[in-house]
């Protein structure tokens, strides 16, 4: 047997995740088990570190570093083969060791955008070929995943136009030939934009959202529109009026939401990257559930013009991709001031990708001197053990890269969720008033005006949307405004203050994205409150308007291949550059995990 299995007996840390240790581990379980449970290398000095306090907190009083190095259970030959610190070496050792024989070892996440751009610019593949490849993969996987509400009929035309330009040596943008999917609550002039709602079934906007326009101008090929919870209201994409999307890692599970279609499409490699929107976690939670990178930029970084408003003071357009580098490239394209959005920021847009160092240029301790704070309130009760241990591993990995990780308490953290579920519905009740059957979208018959309004909205909106409109209307009504809306705004101010304090002491805050990995389709369908609680770790970031990056950090138990879990990294407003740089290094140094073997992924592109 494997000698290091003895670890489970000697390391109390493992007691925190009993459900993970299988009786007879299959290779894939084993791999997970080891990458998540490998103790830190005893030679590394952790100081008063997260790990020490973590071990102390769970009752393990004698952390490894105090023990005799000779007792380190990792065979010494596995500690040698890396240019990185010992712990990376160790982790790599585990990874290699546990890789099932003959498995296709996936390289570290690479930039799909760079790969495609190289192919296109060096004429290895034409834009049409690339688009055809993605489209055929899309059509092959779509019956299982159901992530698209509409597939573009013009994608090949657009690609051909790019090839023509390339043939004439004309200038092409940074996204030349990159097939991108767009969440369906973003307006596209040449494709229907429904917001996932019956009330806009078949609606074609006369204009492109600013973010979409910028993608087009950069040469992206838009593949289609992805599924979502109606108007972004939901956390599972089951709230779509049209179809239920499946998680590519386990088709019986949800992809998360509301940008579930975009996340599933990226995970299933139906597109190179996708646009999403995030009002309370709608990019980050599906990114975590589907094992892709998700970026929620600072409020105001990307213009909201053309985004069907759910909660205007919280809505943000961001992106989902298979690597941090890709999200950095996309953000540089999308971000910037827009005269059509008065809340868009005038701040200059850096070339985010430029500061993302290739791994071989990074020092062995690239995080030296950085402080990471793990939000105490997000790693307590109610959080799945598998998720917790992966987040703790991620924290250990960050420490190994040279940073200090400490626990940070945000006292008002728990107040965020109720405040969010007052403010967001309040704004939604107002933003959705325009869907009245008069000028566009679905109209029901009515004897007179008021009954036409009532019938159109009654039949056009889904259950969750109606629930939020009612909650929001109530919260804004005379006599309740002070108790609900005003109170929640005060909470919002406190949450912003807490974040500010915590980010004065820390460069980046860490937390899980959701209390669990992807849950089963239907599991929470009749439990709206249960669904809301799942947003606990993400809504506060929207209330504070901060940027957050979700990077996959491992697989937890579930399904045939395990279920992905993401790490949420939260930064100061407009410090996306820092988040992306650190997220990139984290991603590129993380022990290798085969990110591309979900059940629908058997064909490779």
């Amino acid at each position: 047997m494997f000698p290091h299995l003895r670890l489970s007996g000697s390391l109390p840390c493992l007691a925190a995740m009993p459900s993970i240790a299988p009786a007879m581990p299959t290779p894939s379980h084993l791999r997970f088990f080891l990458t998540s449970a490998c103790p830190p290398h005893p030679f590394l000095s952790f100081g008063k570190s997260f790990f020490v306090r973590y071990c102390t907190r769970i009752g393990y009083t004698k952390p490894y570093q105090d023990q005799d190095p000779k007792q380190c259970p990792i065979p010494s030959k596995m500690q040698m083969e890396s240019s990185f610190g010992g712990i990376v070496c160790k982790s790599r050792g585990c990874q290699t060791l546990c890789q099932p024989p003959g498995a296709n070892v996936q390289q570290r996440p690479v930039s799909e955008i760079c790969r495609i751009r190289d192919d296109v610019l060096q004429r290895k593949k034409s834009a049409v070929q690339i688009t055809e490849d993605y489209l055929s993969r899309l059509h092959e996987t779509e019956p299982h995943v159901k992530s698209f509400l509409y597939v573009s009929e013009k994608a090949l035309e657009e690609a051909a136009e790019l090839d023509r330009k390339l043939g004439n040596n004309e200038e092409v943008g940074p996204l030349a030939g990159v097939p991108i999917a767009v969440k369906d609550n973003l307006c596209t002039h040449d494709m229907p934009s429904t917001g996932g709602s019956r009330i806009l079934e078949g609606y074609r906007p006369p204009y492109d959202a600013t973010a979409v326009r910028k993608l087009r101008e950069a040469g992206a090929v838009l593949l289609g529109k992805t599924n979502l919870d109606e108007f972004g209201m939901g956390s599972s994409t089951e709230g779509s009026a049209f179809q239920v999307t499946s998680n590519p890692w386990d088709l019986s599970r949800v992809p998360g939401g509301s940008s579930g279609g975009s996340a599933a499409a990226v995970a299933a490699r139906q597109c190179a990257a996708a646009l999403g929107t995030d009002t309370g976690g709608s990019i980050r939670q599906p990114a975590s559930f589907c094992g892709v990178v998700g970026l929620k930029p600072t409020y105001g970084r990307v213009s909201r013009f053309g985004l069907m408003a759910y909660a205007s003071s919280l809505d943000v357009i961001g992106c989902l991709a298979s690597s941090v580098l890709d999200t950095a490239i996309l953000l540089s394209v999308m971000a910037g001031e827009d005269k059509s959005d008065a809340t868009s920021s005038k701040k200059d847009v850096p070339t985010y990708a430029a500061s993302l160092l290739p791994l071989n240029l990074a020092s062995s301790k690239p995080f030296e001197g950085l402080k990471f704070g793990i939000i105490l309130e997000t790693i307590g009760e109610g959080v799945n053990d598998g998720v917790l241990s992966l987040i703790r591993d991620a924290a250990l990995h960050i420490e190994a890269l040279g940073a200090t990780v400490t626990e940070v308490s945000l006292p008002t953290f728990s107040k965020g969720l109720p405040a969010y579920y007052v403010l967001a519905p309040a704004e939604a009740s107002s933003n959705l008033a325009r869907y009245d059957g008069v000028r566009f979208g679905f109209r029901a018959d009515g004897d007179e005006l008021v009954s036409m309004y009532g019938q159109s909205r009654g039949q056009g909106f889904g259950l969750e949307v109606k629930r939020r409109i009612l909650m929001g209307t109530y919260a804004l009504s005379a006599g309740y405004y002070e108790a609900f809306y005003r109170r929640s705004q005060q909470v919002r101010t406190l949450i912003q203050k807490d974040f500010r304090t915590a980010l004065e002491e820390n460069d980046v805050l860490l937390s899980p994205v959701a209390p669990t990995a992807a849950f089963k389709i239907g599991e929470k369908a009749n439990d709206p409150l249960g669904m809301y609680v799942g947003d606990l770790m993400t809504v506060n970031v929207n209330l504070a308007g901060l940027p957050a990056l979700v990077v996959p950090c491992g697989l937890t138990e579930g399904g045939r291949h395990g279920l992905p879990v993401g790490l949420q990294m939260i930064g100061n407003a407009f410090e996306e550059g820092k988040l992306l740089r650190l997220g990139h290094l984290f991603e590129q140094t993380l022990p290798k995990i085969n990110w591309t073997i979900p059940s629908v992924m058997d064909t490779k592109i």
Binding site: K339, E427, S430, A433, R434, V438, T473, L476
Partner: protein, 445 residues
């Protein structure tokens, strides 16, 4: 249209206009104000909410000073301003398929003006009758025209007015139930609507039916000259105001306000006080200060050193008549203030007669040019040279010996005949004073 994904953007100009208006109304300017959403469903409101200012309007307080027309007894009034706020206009409902709103079969929505910024001025309940209200509105119109922030045209809807009317028995402090009236498209309609509504409410009171005065919106019907119920406001509508998240707070600096204040033109009331102090009677003051272009023209003529009363008479007399008959405005005529000043001074120094002045005015208004040029081109300058006049008179007397004899025989009324003959001989260009003097001397010689 309120399309999905569309966002509002604040028009910078409306902030400038709001501050100017606030300064003109002596209001306090809020350096920080914000927008709110006022929510209700109505077909003329595409988004289902109106972007307005609720608790922090851009201007608060202030007043308007009004001089009531002399023919209605005159008098000076000051009406309080509650606030001025910025908001977006709604669409326009066109009720079709019948005559008037009550008989219409269907309605059409014109969204062309939806989302266009407007300023709403709310007054204190200080007006006591229809006339005062109409005069207040007219003064407001004058102010916005003086400030150049609106043409104030009621027919086009550039200036609209909703009035609230309530009555209360003498000695009662509390205001009665207020009734809102809409659909008046002139100041006189406003005055008549208010007078009708006041008498309707007073009648109800006198007959003991004051409970029938309910909070409602009534419509002024121009045809039948009465107000009719449009919709009753059962209980207070809950507009569910909340801060507009799509627009940032409006933040302006004191320096910006000061710079606008510095550039503020002289406003109607100040102008009236100035004309009054210069000795014009109130009736003339009201006419001259009514139109900012006219007042500006007058001021420009005065700047050239012309006499106030003479200038005022020219403007209110011949020029006004010309403008009226030609249906044009003072800013569209070719006559410059300098030319009018020249005309007045040439008459005053005797170069031309007042009669000639009146004759050439239409040409100056139509074609412009200097008075001297026109006079010389037409040979119209006055003959004031005594020797020349004496020669002409001699000639007239010698060709009318019979009349001279009669005159000298005591029929002195014939002097007019001789004047007429001299005028005829000179084409009316002779200086009457000089001529009379010489004529008298010659006749009595």
């Amino acid at each position: 249209m309120g399309l999905p994904g569309a966002l509002p953007v604040l028009n910078e100009k409306v902030v400038e206009y709001a501050v100017k208006l606030g300064l003109g109304l002596h209001s306090d300017i809020s350096l920080r104000s914000k927008f709110d959403r006022k929510q209700y469903f109505y077909p003329d409101l595409p988004k289902g909410y109106q972007i307005s200012q609720f608790d922090i309007p851009i201007c608060r307080g202030g007043y308007v000073e009004v001089d009531l027309p002399v023919e209605f007894g005159g008098g000076h009034r000051r009406f309080g301003i509650t606030r001025v706020h910025m908001e977006e206009d709604a669409g326009k409902l066109v009720h079709a398929g019948g005559d008037g709103l009550s008989g219409s079969l269907y309605s059409q929505v014109d969204l062309n003006r939806a989302g266009v910024p407007l300023l709403e001025v709310v007054s204190e309940p200080d007006m006591r009758n229809g006339l005062e209200a109409a005069e207040y509105a007219a003064e407001l119109q004058r102010i916005v025209r003086y400030l150049g922030i609106s043409n104030g045209n009621m027919q086009e809807g550039s200036l609209r007015c909703d009035v609230n009317v309530s009555v209360r028995p003498k000695g009662q402090d509390k205001f009665g139930t207020k009734v809102e009236i809409k659909n008046m498209n002139s100041f006189s309609a406003m005055q008549r609507a208010i007078e009708y509504e006041v008498s309707r409410q007073v009648c109800l009171h006198e007959e003991g039916f004051e409970s029938k005065i309910v909070q409602e919106t009534r419509l002024w019907e121009e045809g039948s000259q009465r107000t009719i119920t449009m919709r009753s406001k059962e209980g207070l509508a809950d507009y569910r105001f909340f801060p507009e998240p799509d627009l940032p707070e409006v933040s302006i600096t004191q320096a910006y306000v000061d710079s606008l204040l510095e550039d503020l033109p002289e406003l109607p009331n100040t102008k009236r006080r100035r004309y009054e102090s210069l000795g014009l009677i109130m009736q003339d003051v009201l006419v001259l200060a009514n139109d900012s272009d006219v007042a500006a023209f007058l001021d420009a003529v005065l700047d050239k050193g012309a006499d106030l009363k003479l200038t005022a008479n020219w403007i209110m007399g011949d020029i006004a008549a010309y403008l009226k008959s030609e249906k044009t405005s003072i800013s569209d005529v070719k006559l410059t203030p300098a030319t009018l000043a020249e005309l007045i001074s040439l008459i005053k120094d005797g170069t031309i007669s007042g009669k000639i002045g009146k004759e050439i005015l239409p040409e100056l208004l139509r074609k412009g040019g200097s008075v001297k040029e026109v006079v010389e081109a037409k040979g119209l300058s006055q003959i004031s040279d005594p020797a020349l006049i004496e020669g002409i008179i001699k000639q007239v007397l010698s060709s009318n010996p019979k009349q001279v004899e009669q005159y000298r025989g005591g029929k002195t009324k014939l002097q007019g005949f001789f004047v007429g003959q001299v005028m005829k001989a000179t084409g009316g260009r002779v200086n009457p004073t000089v001529m009379n003097e010489i004529l008298l001397r010659k006749l009595t010689a």
